[in-house]
Symmetry: C2
């Protein structure tokens, strides 16, 4: 195949082809190919098969590009989601109103004792000192299951007794079940013990 030189569109031809494609001509039939070829032949040497192959290739490559682009978008989105929201997906509320919600019913288990033990421990922790600093009334909330956790979004209305936790103009917020501030340094504790 050394004697041959393959077709290469002139800039004008290329632009028109691209424009046609962008306008929706992604799969021209024989008659259309012929017609396009006729028109483009005024701008340079061209054959029907060139046009045919161009559309074939262009479609495939646009598809590939779009695919790649969406992949990147999705990965990015996903990263953001992961980095910012994952902890929220674990968060839940200490409010008594939630104690009996499905959020706290465990999946069926063989060992009821484990269930009981952890529940008792959990309840004892709820009653521990120091008291958890955030205390809010809940009005509306949405719960979304995200196996194996739940995301709980709720409308928070700070009560008079509540500490300055969240400004009231951010209505939808996720509460945390357990205190954010430890009474003593965990690192120190861990070090002292080890």
């Amino acid at each position: 195949m050394t004697g041959h030189t393959r077709w290469s569109p002139t800039p004008e031809q290329l632009m028109i082809l691209q424009e046609m494609y962008r306008k929706g001509l992604t799969n021209p039939n024989a008659a259309q190919l012929q017609r396009v070829t006729d028109h483009l032949s005024f701008l340079g040497k061209i054959e029907t098969k060139n046009v045919f192959y161009w559309f074939q290739n262009h479609k495939a490559r646009e598809k590939k590009k779009l695919k790649k682009k969406l992949l990147m978008q999705m990965n990015q989105q996903q990263q953001m989601c992961m980095n910012n929201d994952l902890d929220c997906s674990l968060a839940c509320s200490r409010s008594p109103a939630l104690h009996n919600l499905p959020l706290f019913t465990s999946s069926t288990r063989l060992m009821e004792e484990v269930e009981d033990a952890s529940t008792r421990l959990m309840n004892s922790l709820w009653n521990m000192n120091p008291p958890i600093p955030t205390k809010c009334d809940m009005e509306t909330c949405m719960m979304r299951a995200q196996d194996p956790h739940f995301i709980l979004l709720m409308d928070i209305v700070p009560t008079p007794t509540s500490l300055p936790c969240i400004s009231s103009n951010t209505p939808l917020k996720t509460l945390e079940l357990f205190p954010v501030t430890a009474s003593s340094s965990l690192k120190d504790l861990a070090r002292k013990i080890s």
Copy 2:
């Protein structure tokens, strides 16, 4: 560190820890760690630091697992999307009602001639024979931009003159701009020419 043997939770301890975590205890403070340790010490040798590390690791690894899971889901979804719908995203309608929609206005370009040339060619193609077999009236439609293409969903009401293209109980459908069936085989054409 050869003399040491690292802590390994008994099955009961592990179950309770997991249960606590599932109930929302993902970041215990010092007092909580101590309390949990005290309780679990009845089930086997355990130190506060073990509990501390367990929660740290478990949280991190659950996060990682969830991340991976979501990633896979997204990739799957994406694959499906790509394989089934990509061609649809390129589809648009040949109906005269759409000729002046933004769908067919090209982006701003330096060379107006190209725009004109491709538009003229496009228009000539629209008027070509054989006539495009699908012919429907449109009532309602939605257009969604998906750079660099558009997805057009529309309510199709077959007219008396229309060929049997789409059953009327599938109201929302994507139309294709150009005929799906070529008047002669493209493959044959390409072969004949080459």
